[in-house]
């Protein structure tokens, strides 16, 4: 197991390196005159040239990449061209906000989707039909539409929650809970309906397997069959779906954070991209790659733990 984790971490580092190099080349060769963007429409060519020199844009691409890589390895990830703030600092204040939201949503999705999916698979009949229709409806409404609806009704009309985030230094956990409730609901509806559908299919498939019939014939209670055997075998499918949802959520969260003005990764990514603040964009890309690698690794480990059949050597 340890060798497996080490191997996966090693390949993760290679992926990180390759992605960073590719992103760097793509960003730095297609972004037009960055100095001009920073200086605005009044700048003279001399001022633009001076700024390019300041930013090191007059250096060859390879030199710039290795300068960035050196900075990244030292933990700074270089500094924003616009604000001069080290990128690592920007990420450090924002990742907790985004990750709290994503993990809260994921945990709720895991619990709700499992309950609903299993109920649909076991009860079938009307429960199943409601879940099936719910999956289509839930999947077809984008999270940001749900977000806007929630704000209008629960925040503006009823005043139960703040319309935009109240998270700031010096506020207690209750401000976090209040500020995050609506965004988390907006994020999780798609996930729950989609996840429930997958878990339902996986459970139904297991319930039709021969080993379930054998267990039943030996007088083992339905409850025990479901919780001890079926769920365990169905877990890998559910876990894979959840991991994909988590990765997808890193994109969805960008818009949700804008709507709720949460100081997370979303606004940082949007502003940096719009301004062509390439060091910050690189930082955001690196963060995303790390999350994807870690989530995939965790899913593999969990899968192996839950189901010896898929355990890796």
């Amino acid at each position: 197991m340890i060798r497996f984790i080490a191997k996966r971490l090693g390949s993760g580092l290679v992926v990180l390196f390759v992605v960073s190099a590719l992103t760097f080349v793509l960003l730095y060769t297609s972004s037009g005159s960055i100095a001009r963007n920073i200086l605005g429409d009044q700048a003279t060519p001399e001022q633009v040239a001076l700024k390019e020199q300041e930013l090191g844009l007059d250096q060859p691409l390879v030199t710039r990449y290795f300068a960035w890589l050196g900075d990244a390895l030292s933990g700074n990830l270089s500094a924003s061209w616009f604000t001069s703030e080290p990128v690592a600092n920007s990420l450090a204040t924002r990742i907790p906000v985004t990750m709290t939201m994503v993990f809260a949503a994921m945990i709720l999705i895991a619990v709700c989707a499992t309950l609903i999916g299993v109920a649909a698979a076991v009860k079938r009949g009307w429960v199943d039909r409601v879940v099936q229709v719910g999956a289509i409806v839930g999947d077809s409404i984008p999270g940001y539409v749900i977000g806007v609806l929630l704000v209008t009704v629960l925040a503006i009309q009823l005043g139960f929650f703040p319309a935009t985030s109240t998270i700031s230094p010096g506020v207690g956990p209750e401000a976090w809970v209040y500020s995050m409730t609506l965004p988390v609901i907006a994020l999780l509806i798609n996930g729950v309906t989609g996840g429930a559908q997958q878990i339902r299919s996986a459970v139904i498939k297991q319930l039709e397997r021969d080993y379930v019939r054998t267990l039943r014939s030996r007088g083992i209670t339905e409850r025990e069959i479901l919780f001890k055997h079926v769920l365990r075998s169905a877990a890998p499918a559910g876990l894979t779906v959840l991991s994909l949802q988590l990765i997808g959520m890193l994109g969805g969260v960008v818009i949700i954070e804008q709507i709720f003005a949460l100081p997370g990764m979303g606004p940082l990514a949007v502003t940096a991209t719009a301004q062509t603040d390439l060091p910050v964009v690189m930082g955001v890309v690196m963060y995303t790659v790390v999350v994807v690698i870690v989530v995939n690794l965790l899913v593999d480990i969990l899968n192996g733990w839950l189901n010896p059949k898929v355990r890796v050597s």
Binding site: S31, G32, S33, R36, N37, I38, L39, G40, D41, Q42, A43, Q47, L50, K51, E54, F82, T83, S84, E85, S90, T93, P96, V97, T100, F103, A104, I107, V148, A155, I156, P162, A163, T164, S165, T166, I167, S168, P169, G170, V171, G172, P173, A175, W176, M180, K228, L231, R232, Q258, I259, A261, P263, P267, T271, A274, Q275, T276, L302, W305, L306
Partner: protein, 511 residues
């Protein structure tokens, strides 16, 4: 036994959940006053973006000037109607040739870090602004040097006359920072000025909110109307609307459509006109598009637009139709040019016929994001007179470089309407970004020079430049756009001339 691993997974999941929540809570700091609703002594503004750097030389115009005013005083104060009044400068006077401005300074002002404001400090700021490569550095481009005359007087020497200099000293170029902090790394993240407020760094989070507290012993209590001022950064228009109607912010900038929602929630509108919208017919020598070299073609384009209907349909009537690019407050504006090109498709067709380009004019314009509907209406109205408008790829962040590189022969855009020389160097002179083909004539050059040398008459002299570019149809302006600045009833707001968001001095608690 079999339940073991599953229970462990559950426990792990739960503990992760708790840990994450706990991290979140801890990350936010310890207990304190949560989002208390603003009282009469605190003001919360919804801002479109955070400042990039607190170095005063990095200040910009409009939205990007407002937060600097909280912490920095300017040499000259620009009142809401545009009148220039003393601030850190008590008096200022030009020499006979308008090439030297002598400025008398206050002697009783200190910066938040304890440094004293004097002639040396003012010189240090102006020198720093000139070389710091900030977004508004062009404001001091005509300044050759700054000389200290005595402890409270400086001479600003100019290489050529600049009628907008006094105005610039009320804007980014006039912001005065502590001379000991200028050029340091620290001032980028924590301002050091003499302004009415000081930044509360522990309560401020980059791109989320900036909090200011009233500065003890500030020299001008009339400009310090609040105990606390907060800028809440809300880049998203929907978020700004929601924050305003739910009472999280006291005032913010919206657009006509979102403004309807704010009006439904009894918010008040403090509107003024800052930008004009329309086509820039840039290729007037026909370098890329020979048809545009013909003045009759350019005039025909102007006659093709039913400006009032476009305004009503697309902008919900929020603006004023116009045929001139210069702003109403600039002094260059004239009544006779306002409807110079009234809607007349027959005349447009006639002009095209005379030009020899009948049914043979194609305009390619880049698509300005958010203006797709407007551009398609323009396309339709131009088609009615036989002109083809082809919307191209969306404008992106290489836009300024693209304009300068003569990529666009014509374009649809919204542009700021500034003081006469500001506007001239933005859209008319050969220095202007929005004159990429460097079109000019000796006649126009003469008119522009007259404005530059015009001193106090610059506005009036610029009417001639305005008239020239309107008659020659350099542009096809459509309308001046209303800025939809909304506020609640706890605050009084006076709009500021030529700014979409008011200066911070224009807010006061409602009685």
């Amino acid at each position: 036994m079999k339940l073991g691993p599953k229970a462990a997974v559950t426990a792990l999941t739960l503990s992760t959940a708790l840990a994450m929540t706990a991290c979140g809570g801890a990350g936010g700091g310890t207990a304190g006053s949560a989002s208390a609703r603003p009282t009469a002594t605190s003001l919360t503004l919804g801002a479109n973006q955070d400042v990039r750097s607190w170095d005063p030389a990095q200040a910009h115009v409009g939205h990007a000037l407002q937060p600097y005013q909280a912490v920095y005083d300017t040499l000259i104060l620009r009142e809401p109607n545009g009148k220039l009044s003393p601030m850190l400068a008590t008096e200022w006077k030009y020499n006979d040739t308008n090439t030297k401005l002598t400025v008398d300074l206050r002697t009783d002002v200190t910066f938040s870090d304890g440094a004293k404001f004097d002639a040396e400090a003012a010189k240090a700021n102006l020198d720093h602004f000139k070389k710091a490569n900030g977004p508004q550095m062009a404001q001091l481009a005509s300044v050759s040097d700054v000389a200290v005359v005595d402890a409270d007087t400086i001479d600003i020497n100019l290489s050529s006359a600049e009628p907008a200099l006094e105005y610039f000293l009320s804007q980014a170029a006039g912001l005065m920072g502590s001379p000991t902090a200028l050029g340091s790394e620290a001032i980028k993240t924590e301002p050091a000025g003499s302004g009415p407020y000081v930044m509360d760094k522990s309560a401020s989070v980059k791109d989320s909110q900036t909090v200011f507290n009233a500065r003890e012993g500030y020299w001008n209590k009339d400009l310090q109307k609040y105990q606390k001022m907060t800028f809440k950064i809300l880049a998203d228009l929907t978020a700004r609307t929601n924050a305003l109607v739910s009472g999280q912010v006291d005032a913010t900038l919206l657009d006509p459509k979102n403004g309807k929602q704010a009006e439904g929630a009894k918010m008040k509108l403090a509107t003024n006109q800052v930008d004009w919208s329309g086509l820039l017919l840039l290729d007037r020598d026909g370098t890329k598009n020979p048809a545009l070299a013909n003045v009759k073609v350019r005039q025909a384009i102007n006659y093709a637009f039913d400006r009032k209907t476009i305004l009503d349909q697309v902008m919900l009537g929020q603006g004023t139709p116009t045929s001139q690019p210069f702003g109403k407050d600039s002094g260059a504006w004239t009544e006779e040019l306002e409807n110079y090109y009234s809607y007349d498709p027959d005349k447009a067709r006639q002009l095209l016929k005379e030009s020899g380009f009948e049914n043979n004019v194609t305009l390619e314009v880049p698509t300005l994001p958010g203006s797709e509907t407007l551009i398609s209406v323009l396309q339709q109205q131009l088609a009615d007179v036989g002109i083809t408008l082809k919307p191209g790829a969306a404008i992106n962040n290489t836009f300024i470089a693209d304009v300068a590189a003569q990529k666009y022969g014509a374009m649809f855009f919204n542009l700021f309407q500034g003081e006469p020389t500001v506007a001239i160097d933005q859209i008319v002179s050969t220095k202007a970004l929005f004159n990429p083909f460097k079109n000019t004539t000796p006649e126009l050059e003469e008119k522009i020079q007259a404005v530059r040398d015009g001193g106090d008459d610059a506005g009036k002299l610029a009417q001639e430049v305005n008239k020239y570019v309107v008659e020659q149809a350099w542009f096809a302006p459509l309308f001046r756009v209303n800025q939809m600045y909304y506020h609640n009833d706890k605050v009084n707001v006076t709009p500021q001339i030529q700014q979409a968001v008011p200066s911070i001095y224009n807010y006061s608690p409602a009685k």
